[in-house]
Symmetry: C2
Subunit: 359 residues, 2 copies
């Protein structure tokens, strides 16, 4: 496969060669590879055999799952790097899902005030969402990505060879973010995504959709690396999604990020309909697709105040009392920085429950 | 006093007005002020009276001292910001010594992936050393500033009005860094510093020396913000100084940073004499000044292996086994990236002990 020359992004199915080439060019004083216990079992042994750099790297392993994306895990990575005498010219390769790439990128960005890192996403979600944009971080105080920095990977190597180890749930989770990019991009892209179902396992078609999807994000991020304006486009669906995820964690029953995004997109589409006249036909198409392909994140009206409280922490809010939503006039027609009231959100959550058969 | 228009640096004795002006221009959604328990008692009440912004700011307080520049204190600041619903447009004012400005700047740089911060150094050391250069961070794993990022303050407000609360020890500590800047700058600057003694308490003369000293650092940092080369000039004396400080912490008897720097400069001058022919007359002038004004950090030859081990962690080392020292041919003639062996350092430590009357 070809290399994207305009960015640090490589699409390839020859992952080991791509890693070894990147490492050879960078010539680090040492190589470390961060995995979670899942990728340590399923992906690392093969990569250690195929890649010279990974084969001789020092392995740092952390517990899997978004609820382990914590200060403790971050401190563990710093400790391993420090104990192993990593220098400022050492390299960290983050091999895993978004939790590993986010946390590993933050650890690398802050160890000795910054060492280079390469991200190798092993899930569809990480490939489509965490691979570009320079967002690094950990969860803190019950809030997702409350702490982190913006910093670009030296290289991001995207491949579909890891996806055969993923469950349908994980594939769907990534697809939730792709739906978001489709809604942001155009009616045509949105339609293409609605006509594909993850169960089809058409890896070639998925790869095409994935490259288009990453390109949507890349184009936005390039224009606004520090999320000062345009980039809030990518927040579509995420204010509600983050609140759903936080609530699910509190219920001790975490949900995959992309599922939360799919449900959050429905909330955003409802608000878009109420505030900006987003067509009700498109809203119903989206809600039906989400209902049939993702299922539903169930909430009760008793939980609204708590959900609103969580949303009030959102990083994109300009003041603690104003909810700042990215919304749509139509697929492909995005409006950022819509001020939304608690009453608007309450109404939207009612309609969300109705559309998804919860009311 | 005038404002430095070429940087974010303001020299003024009207600190409260300078803070209020900066805050008014930035127009943050909320203001937080970070202090340690010392500046909370000695400096904060006056600033709360004089500055409208500080008067209405939320106070975050941490324990003083370099041994509290830890992950725990960092986490405490994140927690207070998060619990108080700081947003990405909130402002953190770091009011204190280098520990407060380093840690506060790191907390601000990572909270919600970065909020603006203003540094108001209250010690001579922080004014001369931590006020420019964008270095933020905490100590970790027994190593100074092992974790952090490079990030500039929105504004740095430097004043001498706080220095009357400082002990002679604290003033001398700052003066150690000024000696370093003098050695880097020129024979003339070095001579001027040797002819002044902190006990003289000539605040006007000290202020002149301070402005010149900060200008030396600013000029270097502007040319190399990420410490990729030239900036290692500023590492003069610091490899040994950091090792002395780490050892002092392990002895449960920490020494002020500038004292460690003064002693570290002697080690660097000895190495400079051995490797680059630094004049022995200048070496003796420096050693005599340090011995009489700072006293001596006492070490025994039994401690050499441990000191070497600590030095091997230095961020500036390109590999774990090569010690990378900044040295001098003469005052004003700096050579970075001198490879130094363990045997060289052992010889230099012997001479250090001899020059300072320890052997």
């Amino acid at each position: 496969m070809n290399t994207e020359s305009t960015s640090n992004l490589i699409f390839t199915n020859h992952v080991a060669e791509a890693i070894d080439e990147a490492v050879s060019r960078l010539n680090p004083s040492g190589v470390f590879v961060l995995v979670d216990r899942n990728t340590e079992d399923t992906v690392l042994p093969r990569m250690q055999m195929l890649s010279k750099a990974i084969g001789s790297a020092t392995v740092i392993s952390i517990s899997p799952g978004d609820d382990n994306k914590t200060v403790n895990a971050l401190t563990h990575v710093w400790q391993q790097l420090s104990d192993s005498r990593a220098t400022r010219t050492s390299l960290l390769v983050n091999l895993g899902g978004g939790m590993v790439t986010d946390l590993g990128a933050f650890a690398a960005s802050t160890f000795k005030r910054g060492i280079p890192f390469i991200n190798v996403p092993t899930t569809l979600l990480a490939a489509v969402d965490a691979s570009v944009g320079g967002k690094t971080g950990i969860n803190f105080n019950g809030l997702k990505n409350e702490v982190g920095v913006f910093n670009d990977a030296h290289q991001v190597i995207i491949s579909t060879i890891f996806f055969n180890t993923l469950s349908m749930t994980e594939l769907r989770s990534g697809y939730g973010e792709m739906l978001k990019h489709g809604l942001i991009d155009s009616q045509e892209a949105f339609n293409a995504l609605l006509s594909y179902h993850v169960e089809q396992l058409d890896t070639e078609r998925l790869l095409t959709l994935l490259r288009q999807s990453v390109a949507v994000k890349q184009a936005i991020v390039d224009k606004d690396p520090l999320e000062s304006g345009l980039r809030r486009t990518l927040n579509l669906g995420h204010t509600a999604a983050h609140a759903f995820e936080s609530l699910a964690i509190e219920r001790k029953s975490p949900i995959p990020h992309g599922y939360a995004v799919a449900c959050g997109l429905v909330v955003a589409a409802v608000l878009s309909h109420l505030k900006l006249g987003f067509p009700s036909g498109e809203l119903h198409k989206l809600a039906d697709y989400v209902r049939h392909n993702f299922g539903v994140f169930a909430i009760t009206c008793d939980e609204y105040p708590h959900l609103l409280d969580i949303m009030s922490h959102d990083k994109k809010n300009l003041t603690p009392d104003t909810f700042n939503f990215t919304l749509l006039r139509a697929p492909g027609d995005v409006v950022t920085d819509n001020p939304v009231t608690a009453a608007d959100i309450t109404a939207a959550l009612d309609i969300y429950r109705d559309l998804l058969g919860l009311a």
